[in-house]
């Protein structure tokens, strides 16, 4: 079955390996690959698929990496893969190299393999996919699409995907187009049978049914943000297309169309506006929120750069706004289809002048849902923009998370908004007058009262009654009050998440967002080596006091981030007045989602280095 048979044989691995697919983008492989991952999910086995795709529509290499983990590790493992499914000759050289010794290289052997690509330490398993589809289907489009389905069927034989799980997915996928069910199942069966006939025995990489996905769903973070905006009461979504955030607006549209159409009139209880650019998108968001409607936009780094001016206006004029930034690799156009956490600083201090912006850092689709809904409450409570920093890995990949929940007794927090009756009951209305010491002032919505409550919203300095002034003292009072509000903010923000593995508190790790899964796995690996490491996951900025306490309590603190310049560390040093040397950075910024292996190796290296320094 392989040209050279000297490769080592892998020990049998059950539910613990990585399969990577190498495809040509635009060839319809995404749905076949997603069917593969979903079938494993339905078998009750923890699985985490990730798209690694180019900034291109058709013809360039694209990969899909699926990690299967009995222990439930959903981050990237790192290292080479056990099984490579190669359906793209362009990338074959790289793909051959990414297989671990003893691993398998599954390829289309309709055409002979370039001998330069042959390694003697891996197994080559070929099926004539092109030949099979050409013999089976007349329509060229079908040949291409079913080639993908056929290899999924072959994998079902090779690694033990339950055929019924695949069938159930085909049935669900084509519920609306039942004509497509039969040919898809036929193609799966064809692939299965061909593999059985050719290889005669399955691989040592095997899937076995478990019950680990009860109470769990598989969802993309961006869709979860869109759904969260529906639940959070957003009525105006203004956006401009940009990868990787586009599917946030699409998710909002999908769920709002389903859940928010007035059943009697057919009217939309929501508005979605595709703006002419990001400046306009955020302008619309500011205008809608100013007028009392919950409104948001979704963008990525370049969009955040363009939105700076409006973010400053919203901060200074104290207009709520929600911005979802699905981060990608910058600077500039950077790597638009690769992930990073590199918009922290531009978000936290967005716009010129002295500004500070509230930020949220979700780590799972469930948090995308919950924090998006929360963001509207926070923005209205604090009367300021809330920037949610998710990333491409979270946003555009399906991740397993707990079932979504909504507390029906929960009520929207609209913050300090005065109605006509409130205005009647107070003396002179002061838009920027702090009446209760928390730095947050009363707000009115246009059109509320015939005589009172109107004011001129502006980005220029003004006094407590919104009257224009250039008096230094009045300007200073206002800027100082904004700091009081900033100090109030953490009370309304989600708390950091602490995991204590050790009481002696020697080593601590700080992380945020999508570094969660890989960090926890790395800490388990360190634990097996005898290092009990505590960790704290930051969920919001401004920081909760628990973050500074965590840093103070631990002898050695690492900060795990997916950017070059240690932006979270910078923020911690700057905001908490921490000595920069007391925080050690673990940084990955090559555009791939961070892996457990990388975090483990780097912490281990630094621990060894400091142990040597002590013994020397």
């Amino acid at each position: 079955m392989s040209p050279i048979n000297t490769a080592p044989t892998l020990d049998k691995k059950v539910n613990d390996f990585v399969v990577k697919f190498a495809n040509v983008n635009g060839s319809g492989s995404a749905s076949a690959n997603s069917m593969f991952a979903k079938a494993i999910f339905r078998m009750g086995i923890p699985v985490s698929p990730r798209n690694i795709f180019p900034s291109n529509i058709q013809g360039a290499p694209t990969w899909y990496e699926v990690r299967v983990s009995e222990q439930g590790y959903l981050g990237r493992r790192g290292g080479q893969v056990e099984l490579m499914v190669s359906v793209n000759p362009q990338s074959m050289a790289d793909d051959v190299n990414s297989v671990c010794p003893g691993g398998y290289f599954f390829y289309d052997n309709t055409y002979p393999l370039d001998f330069q690509l042959i390694r003697d330490d891996i197994h080559y398993i070929g099926l004539p996919l092109t030949e099979i589809v050409n013999a089976t289907f007349d329509d060229p489009r079908r040949r291409q699409l079913f080639k993908n389905i056929i290899y999924v069927g072959s994998l079902a034989y090779l690694i033990g995907i339950e055929f019924s799980a695949l069938e159930s997915i085909v049935n669900d996928t084509f519920k609306a187009k039942p004509k497509l069910i039969e040919p898809n199942i036929f193609a799966l069966q064809l692939g299965f049978d061909e593999a059985q006939k050719t290889f005669n025995q399955p691989l040592p990489l095997q899937l076995e049914r478990r019950k680990k996905n009860d109470g769990k769903i598989m969802l993309e973070g961006n869709a979860a943000c869109g759904l969260g905006a529906v639940y959070g009461g957003a009525t105006v979504c203004a956006w401009y297309p940009i990868t990787p955030s586009t599917s946030v607006a699409e998710g909002f549209e999908k769920y709002a169309t389903k859940l928010r159409k007035d059943p009697d009139t057919g009217k939309n209880n929501f508005a979605i506006i595709q703006a002419e650019d990001e400046l306009s998108a955020i302008g619309m968001v500011v205008g809608a929120n100013w007028n009392g409607a919950r409104s948001f936009t979704a963008t990525s780094g370049p969009g955040v750069s363009l939105m700076q001016e409006f973010l400053g206006l919203a901060y200074f004029a104290e207009v709520p706004a929600v911005l979802i930034d699905v981060q990608r690799a910058g600077p500039s156009t950077g790597m638009p289809t690769r992930t990073q956490q590199s918009d922290l600083l531009i978000s936290a201090y967005a716009s010129h002048g002295d500004t500070k912006q509230v930020c949220l850092f979700p780590a799972t689709p469930k948090e995308c849902f919950e924090l998006t809904a929360d963001a509207f409450d926070i923005a209205e409570r604090l009367q300021t923009p809330v920037i949610m920093l998710t990333d491409l890995d979270l946003g555009m990949n399906e991740h397993i998370c707990d079932d979504l929940e909504w507390d029906d007794t929960r009520r929207y927090d609209r913050g300090k908004v005065l109605c006509a009756e409130d205005l009647d009951n107070i003396g002179r209305f002061g838009r920027y007058l702090d009446v209760d010491g928390d730095g947050i002032t009363n707000r009115t919505i246009p059109g509320t009262h015939a005589e009172k409550g109107a004011f001129f919203t502006r980005g220029t300095s003004r006094d407590e009654y919104a009257v224009y002034t250039e008096k230094g003292e009045a300007y200073e009072r206002n800027m100082e009050r904004l700091l009081v509000k900033w100090a109030t903010a953490p009370k309304h923000l989600p708390k950091p998440v602490l995991t204590n593995r050790s009481q002696d508190k020697k080593i601590g790790v700080i992380h945020y967002g999508t570094s969660l899964e890989a960090t926890h796995e790395a800490l388990d690996m360190l634990s097996a080596d005898g290092h009990q490491v505590n960790d704290i996951r930051i969920v919001a900025f401004p920081f909760n006091d628990e973050v500074s306490a965590f840093i103070e309590e631990h002898e050695q603190v690492f900060v795990v981030e997916q950017n070059r310049d240690a932006q979270m560390k910078t923020l911690l040093v700057n905001e908490l007045e921490i000595a920069p040397k007391s925080l050690l950075s673990i940084l990955q910024f090559n555009g791939d989602p961070i892996s457990a292996d990388m975090i483990y190796r780097n912490i281990k290296e630094k621990l060894n280095a400091s142990a040597e320094a002590i013994s020397a």
Partner: protein
């Protein structure tokens, strides 16, 4: 600028149907230069809103940055205003308007704010046919930064320092026509008899209404050689098709109406009465409107009046299929689908 506004008003000032005199429509003391055209426009806006019997607090005053954009502070004190960022008034107004369809949106912009930094947003708010009145206080220069030429300064026009503008000017009226604006007018700040009815008609139009108002900058662009000065404008203005706004229930007649007239019905039952430019001038003919505009320009004439009107067109609310209830009034029960809907969604993600 003035320093105070006397409190005295004529005891027998006329009242509108809401029982309000124009005092209820006034704003703060203007900080613009004495004689600024913008203050005349503010006065005309007050008159128009008063005359339309609109409660002041049901108006939203929107602006960008510049002298023009400060002016909403000087009318309708009881209305909320939003002095946003340079060139971005249209987007803020779009968001606000979508949030609450029940207010009257008056956007005040300038030639810098619209024809340069805000050109993109200007174009796109027209394409969306947002239900608003967009007033450009057009003085051909940047007043607040001391008189630089703007993009509407005519080619050959002289700056205060004597420099001749070498660039072709942007005609916002022609551009708006090209972009599909459904109400396009031009006026002159010195002609309130024309401006007030035009404003009323624009405010009654259920769609995007542009009024480009030549409004001389007395400090930086009111000298011989400037084509946006009071003298030049008075000499070259040709008051065209304007002229009277006729509310559904109450007819207003101005002495100025002369010659044959044509009445065009607005969506809400009001109508605009026009004096015809010529026998074959049809203000609902977009192509002809452009031609007439260009003809006047080639003769160095400034054509004012209602240039074009498309009374029946879907505005942005209709395009978005929005409910009659403003989005900002929808209650939590209409907005939040609740936990039961979520369990269906969970089931679909297994």
């Amino acid at each position: 600028m003035s320093f105070f506004k006397p409190n005295f008003r004529h005891p027998e000032s006329p009242k509108n149907t809401l029982g309000l005199t124009t005092k209820a429509y006034e704003g703060g003391v203007s900080t613009l230069c004495a004689g600024c055209g913008h203050d005349s426009i503010s006065a005309a806006i007050m008159q128009a809103v008063w005359g339309l019997n609109i409660e002041p607090h049901r108006v939203a005053k929107m602006s960008g940055i510049g002298c023009s954009s400060k002016s909403p502070n000087y009318f309708l004190n009881k209305a909320h205003g939003f002095n946003s960022v340079h060139g971005r008034m249209p987007s803020v107004t779009t968001g606000a308007n979508v949030a609450n369809r029940d207010l009257l949106y008056i956007g005040v912009s300038g030639d810098g704010d619209t024809a340069s930094i805000g050109m993109g947003q200007f174009a796109h708010v027209i394409r969306r046919n947002l239900n608003m009145t967009y007033i450009v206080e057009n003085n051909g220069c940047y007043g607040l930064t001391k008189g630089q030429d703007s993009a509407t300064a005519d080619e050959g026009s002289k700056s205060k320092k004597g420099k001749v503008n070498p660039f072709e000017s942007i005609d916002l009226v022609a551009l708006a026509l090209e972009l599909g604006a459904t109400f396009v007018a031009r006026s002159f700040s010195g002609d309130k008899d024309q401006l007030i009815p035009l404003l009323k008609a624009a405010m009654s139009h259920k769609g995007f209404a542009l009024i480009d108002v030549v409004s001389p900058c007395v400090t930086f662009n009111n000298h011989p050689g400037s084509t946006k000065s009071y003298d030049y404008t008075r000499e070259h203005v040709q008051a065209g098709s304007v002229v009277d706004f006729v509310p559904m229930k109450q007819e207003i007649t101005l002495d100025q109406i002369k010659g044959s007239t044509q009445q065009v019905a607005l969506h809400n039952g009001d109508s605009v009465r026009l004096s015809k430019l010529s026998d074959n001038y049809d203000p609902t003919d977009r192509i002809n409107a452009l031609k007439v505009l260009h003809d006047h320009k080639s003769q160095d004439k400034l054509l004012t009046g209602l240039i074009y009107l498309e009374p029946e067109s879907d505005n942005f609310h209709e395009i978005l299929n929005l409910p009659d209830t403003p989005l900002n009034e929808l209650t939590e029960s209409a907005l939040c689908p609740g936990d039961s809907a979520l369990s269906n969604i969970n089931a679909g993600l297994k």
